[in-house]
């Protein structure tokens, strides 16, 4: 015995009495905390997934060489798909086209992409690997798919790779004798981007200058060449109207045989509607659990204090004031609530990480589940803890009040123990 007696020590030691029942109380609080925490994390994750989905929806319009449009029509490709990456074609336009498109009303972002070549290198990927040049500063279609956002824009010699490419962030890869560092890896896009290596445009031009990179039959790539200009509409703009304006602007500056524009229609509404009711349902479940548990916890608290009447009377005989008795009974309940709350939140957190790692959450929700940020998790955990501690206070208030107003002598002489 090293320490003096303290309220905390006394409270903790009291909790060792009747461990089974205290464990049951902790379990109740843990269940409530788990319920609240899980519900809120689920909502935040699903909403985060939708937000990320929106940012990953790619381009609204794409400006391409006119010959490519002819090729596209002939190949019956689905133009309503998410446009993350340009197609691997050898038709090119010049970057200067950005000056024209940038002046069009309703265009908020634009980013060029250049197809360099395709590699068959099983060491990198079992599927053929496309090499693309992008402008990391203006890019808005590739980087939202990164598993971890880049700390700073892509430096020369750094690349981003699709999910199907071997190697993780920080690893090295070699292309035609040029060494690159993988600065970021994308989540699966279920598109050709999964088997693509993205370089900076200037690195792409340097690489393309190597004789072996571009097939001899294809036209040489010169600085300023790009395959496509990906465009995002300004928020609230009618996509068809923007499409028409771009088309009109291009036709006034370039011959129709040089450049064309492809619009894309995508619908987010069905996804949004799917999760719209989820918060209400989860909140209702949480509220039901809280309301249903409260009387049970209050009953346990009342039983515990009833059984400890003699002990409470003894403390009073030692000089414990009524407010001290009130505090001790409340504090015991709050400690149980805090332990239960932390256990519940901890269990929830562990379960979420585990399920998320296995992709089970996205499957169950039918939307991409994006694990909330540490700050958001902390906020939700804090809220769950506050709720259980509040419940602990409510449920033990009456027993604490009753104990503090007990006649000490009656309490001492009670035969409850």
């Amino acid at each position: 015995m090293k320490q003096d007696m303290s309220y905390l020590k006394f409270i903790v030691s009291s909790l060792r009495n009747k461990p089974g029942r205290n464990l049951a109380t902790v379990f109740c609080f843990a269940f409530i905390a788990l319920n609240i925490f899980s519900g809120q994390i689920l909502m935040a994750g699903a909403q985060g997934g939708v937000s990320r989905g929106i940012s990953r929806m790619g381009a609204d319009q794409i400006v391409v060489p006119a010959q490519y449009l002819v090729f596209l029509r002939g190949s019956s490709q689905n133009t309503t798909m998410t446009i993350v990456r340009a197609e691997s074609s050898t038709f090119r336009i010049n970057l200067s086209i950005m000056d024209t498109v940038g002046k069009v009303t309703g265009v908020s972002q634009m980013s060029p992409q250049l197809y360099v070549t395709t590699l068959n290198q099983p060491g990198l990927s079992p599927a053929p690997v496309d090499i693309f040049g992008i402008d990391p500063v203006t890019d808005f279609t590739i980087q939202p798919w990164l598993r971890q956002p880049l700390d700073e824009p892509l430096d020369p010699g750094e690349v981003m790779v699709g999910s199907g490419i071997v190697g993780d962030t920080g690893s090295k890869l070699s292309l035609f004798g040029h060494s690159y560092t993988v600065a970021g890896k994308l989540d699966p896009t279920q598109s050709s981007a999964d088997h693509t290596i993205f370089l900076r445009l200037d690195d792409a031009y340097t690489l393309a200058a190597e004789k072996v990179v571009v097939p001899p039959s294809a036209p040489r790539i010169t600085p300023g060449d790009v395959n496509a200009l990906l465009i995002r509409d300004a928020p609230g703009e009618d996509s068809v109207a923007v499409f028409s304006r771009i088309r009109r602007s291009l036709s006034s500056s370039y011959p129709p045989s040089y450049v064309s524009v492809i619009g894309r229609n995508f619908a987010l509404d069905p996804v949004s509607e799917n999760i719209q009711d989820v918060p209400d349902i989860l909140n209702s479940i949480s509220a039901f659990v809280v309301i249903a548990s409260l009387p049970l916890i209050a009953l346990i608290a009342a039983m515990v204090t009833h059984e400890r009447q003699r002990e409470i009377g003894l403390l009073m005989s030692m000089g414990a004031k009524r407010n001290v008795i009130f505090f001790l009974v409340m504090a015991e309940s709050l400690v149980l609530a805090a332990i239960g709350g932390i256990a519940g939140v901890g269990a929830g957190l562990g379960a979420f990480y585990l399920l998320n790692m296995q992709g089970a959450l996205s499957g169950a929700l039918q939307v991409t589940f994006a694990m909330p940020s540490v700050t958001e998790i902390g906020r939700i955990a804090g809220m769950a803890l506050l709720v259980v501690i509040f419940m602990g206070s409510i449920s033990s208030f009456w027993p604490a009040y009753r104990s503090s107003t007990m006649n000490p002598y009656d309490a001492i002489r009670s035969e409850a123990r």
């Binding site: 005989s317 030692m318 000089g319 002598y409």
Partner: protein
């Protein structure tokens, strides 16, 4: 130390009123060892409860060290108990989840014992012959050992008054003698003791005795009354 007069406690039940203590008058001087003898149900524990401020009397006055505790608010009485009064009950009243030493230190929660509190608790355990069991939990102690720890606990805040309610009621004869010797030693060291018991064999330990029968308190009861069982009953 204690002066009480006209002390009455009546309990109202559904069918009748029960007068547990009826117009009692008692005076305890500093340094005395006062024994209140009476059979079970005679009202002696209720009287003791009133003297310690644990029970509010129906009528009468009680003065403890010059303070009229019948008019003091609850918290002030609690303070008085914490600083001036030590209790020993028939049951040990030890908290099972803390050690003997921690049990002795428990009253410091309610009355700042200062930095020397732990040392004092150790000394008290030594005084009651329990220093070698300081780290033992109550479940491992015998009845007599638990009672000794309870006495040490009652003395932690250096009370001027020790109140004992049937402290030897559940003990065998040998342990009872040990505990009574301990009380006598404490009394010789200056602690005022008021003790209730139903055992007239303990009369020799007291400096003054009261007898209690059906709520009535009588001072200086003669030893013949004690022995024939008017106020108590000997162990069989």
């Amino acid at each position: 130390m204690i002066q009480a007069s006209g002390l009455t406690k009546a309990y109202h039940t559904k069918n009748s009123d029960v007068v547990a203590v009826d117009d009692a008058r008692i005076e305890v001087k500093s340094g005395e060892f006062v024994l209140i003898l009476g059979r079970s149900g005679s009202g002696k524990s209720t009287l003791l409860g009133m003297l310690a401020g644990l029970i509010r009397p129906s009528s009468g006055e009680i003065s403890v060290e010059g303070l009229d505790i019948t008019t003091l608010p609850e918290d002030k009485i609690a303070e008085l108990r914490a600083r001036k009064i030590g209790f020993v009950f028939q049951f040990s009243g030890l908290i099972p989840t803390i050690t003997a030493l921690e049990n002795v230190m428990l009253p410091m929660l309610f009355c700042s014992g200062g930095p020397g509190c732990r040392t004092r608790a150790v000394d008290l355990l030594k005084k009651v012959g329990m220093s070698d069991r300081a780290d033992a939990y109550p479940r491992t102690l015998s009845s007599g050992e638990m009672k000794r720890v309870a006495i040490a606990r009652a003395l932690l805040n250096e009370p001027s008054l020790l109140i004992a309610d049937e402290p030897t009621g559940d003990l065998d004869v040998d342990t009872e003698l040990e505990i009574m010797e301990l009380f006598r030693q404490l009394n010789h060291e200056g602690t005022t003791i008021v003790m209730v018991t139903h055992n007239p064999e303990l009369v020799p330990y007291a400096t003054r005795t009261y007898g209690m029968n059906r709520g009535k308190l009588v001072e200086n009861t003669n030893s013949a009354d004690m022995c024939i069982g008017t106020y108590g009953s000997t162990r069989t």
